[in-house]
């Protein structure tokens, strides 16, 4: 629609005493500033920053995914050739050390990080009995991280070669028999012997039923009975590993009482309580030498003294 022309006859006054002088004298500090006014002032900068960041993001996206993707395989190899392994970050919850690690996996400074087969390396580490779980991670640009979870020994196992030479092995909580690398002599000495259940061959097979033995060992430890009894070995000769099977006995051999028989049923707290009572009784009776304590009986405990007297 055509606009009817307005005359606008000189309504504005621009001379002395004009309001324009007030406008021009309106200094910055006297202006009313609000959140909205500040936002409007910085809005162009926010837009500029947003577009700049978007541009940078797009640039890096194209650089990393598009330009690299259309490059030749040769280019990729040559790029990776610069990433040599400079350090190995080794973490374990057990006793294995870097010396052992370097014997298992071979890494040198001439190896490129991307050339290392970390899956193969993980399997190599886990093939070692003492290692429960291994993780191998590339830490860019130049490091390899190796994390281990180790078996915890609860017994030592005395074994013999076909030539009749004795040697020791460790037994873990899961019953796994392993060589036991890196443990100090003190640790090994403190471990009680385990007499396993009727082995049919000389192979290191997992020992059954240690999930029943571990709770008993923990209770003995908590009650301070390992030191008090001077624990020497645990015999599983009469424990097949199946606690439901009748007549299953775990035998504890100690310096104080040569034979303590525990039932493999899961009432260890009651049996330990009886043992504590018996020990107190013995102590109060002038410490007569005890040959055997049988805690495997359901409602009572049999104590056999050296003199051949039963209570």
């Amino acid at each position: 629609m055509k606009f009817p022309k307005k005359s606008n006859k000189s309504v504005t006054y621009k001379s002395d005493q004009s309001w324009h002088n007030l406008r021009d004298a309106n200094v910055q500090s006297s202006r009313i500033t609000t959140f909205a006014s500040v936002y409007r002032r910085i809005r162009p900068f926010i837009k500029w920053a947003f577009f700049s960041l978007s541009f940078i993001a797009v640039f890096f996206f194209l650089k990393d995914f598009v330009f690299q993707g259309i490059g030749s395989e040769k280019d990729t190899v040559s790029k990776n050739s610069g990433d040599y392994v400079k350090k190995v970050l080794f973490y374990t919850d057990g006793v294995l050390d870097e010396a052992w690690l370097s014997g298992v996996i071979q890494i040198n400074r001439n190896m490129q990080l991307m050339d290392i087969n970390i899956f193969e390396m993980k399997h190599s580490l886990e093939r070692f009995d003492q290692v429960l779980e291994a993780e191998v991670i590339r830490v860019f640009p130049d490091a390899l991280r190796v994390e281990l979870k180790e078996e915890v020994p609860i017994f030592k196992l005395k074994m013999q070669t076909s030539e009749g030479v004795d040697f020791l092995r460790c037994v873990g909580e899961s019953g796994l028999v392993y060589e036991g690398v890196g443990y100090s002599e003190t640790v090994i000495n403190e471990l009680p012997y385990l007499i396993p259940y009727r082995h049919s061959n000389q192979k290191y097979l997992p020992i059954n039923g240690l999930d029943h033995v571990s709770p008993l060992m923990n209770l003995l430890k908590e009650e301070g009975l390992i030191e008090r009894l001077r624990l020497q070995s645990i015999s599983l000769e009469n424990f097949s590993g199946d606690s439901e099977f009748p007549g299953q006995i775990i035998e504890v051999n100690s310096g104080l009482i040569p034979r303590i028989l525990f039932s493999a049923y899961k009432d260890y707290p009651r049996q330990i309580a009886r043992l504590n009572y018996i020990l107190s009784y013995i102590n109060g009776s002038g410490n007569p030498e005890v040959e055997r304590v049988d805690l495997s009986l359901r409602d009572s405990a049999a104590v056999e003294f050296k003199e051949g007297k039963n209570n």
Partner: protein, 408 residues
């Protein structure tokens, strides 16, 4: 395609803040691209009393309007009202310099210069200096150059404002920050939007009844010859009504517009109106005659104040106001208000309405001032453009190009 300009028009009123954004193209067409209206706060009788509160609302309104327009305002036109505004008629006189009595451009400038001599008291600034017709030896003429005469006279209706109050408005706008290109008195802006040139020439009285104040401007022979501000507005009527009916101002305001001057109230004195209007719980019937009396007396008082001001200035002559009274502003929506105006002024009265094809949401009395401001902006743009154009060919071409306004 030439450069276009984004112009804002804002009115900071007692009851509402209205803003319109327009895009003026190089072919002098105007497109309205954004608008926003919000309830005002911190303004009393057209004067900003709480700068921070009002500033917050104004700045948010500008941001909202800009968001709707999808662009930023480059320059802004500000409407001004309030009782601090005052007007004075300054005359400038000169004797024609040439011995043959032919009036030259130098004589015109001399007469104008003479009219600008009067100084204002300290603390006041001129907003407008509106030129009135020349007179050559007492005879009114549009353009005296090349005419013959002895004495040339020109008059200016000068409107001035209180520096502090004006500066507060500028501080609010400039805080956003925006350049205030011009300050226009509300009544003149409304008149610019509502009156055709022919109506101005015939003489017209524009009354803009706002929330806290009522502005008026008298046009004669196409010129603004008088402006004034009455410190009575629609809010005063609503307040009186709320006290009289013991109800809230909001309900009273709604009732005022709905039934305030209902014509059947006097014919049937038993007639009643519902207070809320929806006849729900809490709504009650009110004798219509009571409402009518309160509203009518206030409206009548308001028009009488305008008439008194014009009579005092010796400008009230119904025969010279051929186009009659044009009412605008929010309160002019009241049904029957024009009947009272006709009685008081003894003139025909109409409710102002923009004649262009614009959005009906904008073609309401509340936006007439801001629309008028935008038309001023368009006029200023054309003026600047014609000054800047030195190319004769360009000038010739422009004469053949249609000038149009595309108001949405």
């Amino acid at each position: 395609m030439g450069h276009s300009k984004i112009v804002g028009a804002i009115e900071i009123g007692t009851s509402k803040i209205a803003i319109i954004i327009g895009e003026i193209s190089s072919d002098s067409s105007l497109n309205i691209i954004g608008s926003y209206s919000v309830q005002s706060n911190g303004v009393k009788k057209g004067v900003i009393e709480d700068l921070q509160v009002t500033g917050q609302i104004v700045h948010n309104a500008i941001l909202q309007a800009e968001t709707e327009a999808g662009t930023e305002i480059e320059e802004i036109y500000l409407a001004q009202t309030g009782q601090h505004l005052a007007g004075v008629f300054n005359f400038g006189t000169t004797n024609v310099g040439a011995s043959n009595g032919i009036i030259t451009k130098a004589d015109v400038e001399k007469a104008k210069e003479d009219a600008r001599r009067p100084q204002l008291p300290e603390g006041r600034s001129f907003i407008h200096y509106i030129q009135n017709p020349f007179s050559v030896d007492g005879k009114k003429v549009e353009n005296p150059i090349h005419m013959e005469g002895k004495r040339l006279q020109v008059g200016f209706w000068a409107i001035h404002a209180d520096n502090k109050i004006l500066q507060d408005s500028l501080r609010v706008i400039m805080g956003i920050p925006l350049v205030v290109e011009d300050v226009i008195v509300s009544s003149i802006a409304s008149g610019n939007a509502l009156l055709q040139e022919s109506e101005k020439k015939a003489g017209a009285l524009v009354i803009d009844i706002g929330g806290g104040t009522s502005d008026f401007a008298l046009y004669k022979d196409g010129y603004v010859v008088y402006t004034g501000v009455i410190p009575v507005g629609g809010d005063h009527i609503s307040n009186d009504l709320s006290m009289g009916l013991r109800t809230s101002v909001q309900l009273a305001d709604s009732l005022k517009l709905r039934e305030g001057l209902a014509s059947h109230a006097k014919q049937n004195t038993d007639a009643s109106a519902w207070l809320v209007g929806n006849q729900s719980i809490g709504d009650r019937k009110i004798p219509l005659i009571s409402v009518n009396r309160i509203v009518e007396s206030r409206i009548k008082e308001l028009f009488e104040l305008v008439r008194e001001a014009l009579e005092e200035a010796k400008l009230y002559n119904p025969s010279e106001i051929g186009s009659g009274v044009v009412l605008t502003g929010g309160t002019s929506r009241m049904e029957g208000i024009e009947v009272i105006a006709e009685k008081v002024f003894d003139l025909k009265c109409t409710k102002g309405e923009c004649t262009w094809n614009i959005d009906k949401d904008l073609n309401i009395p509340e936006y007439s001032t801001t629309l008028g401001l935008l038309l001023f902006a368009l006029g200023v743009f054309e003026e600047k453009q014609s000054k800047n154009t030195n190319n004769i060919l360009g000038n010739l071409l422009r004469k053949f190009l249609p000038k149009q306004v595309n108001l949405q």
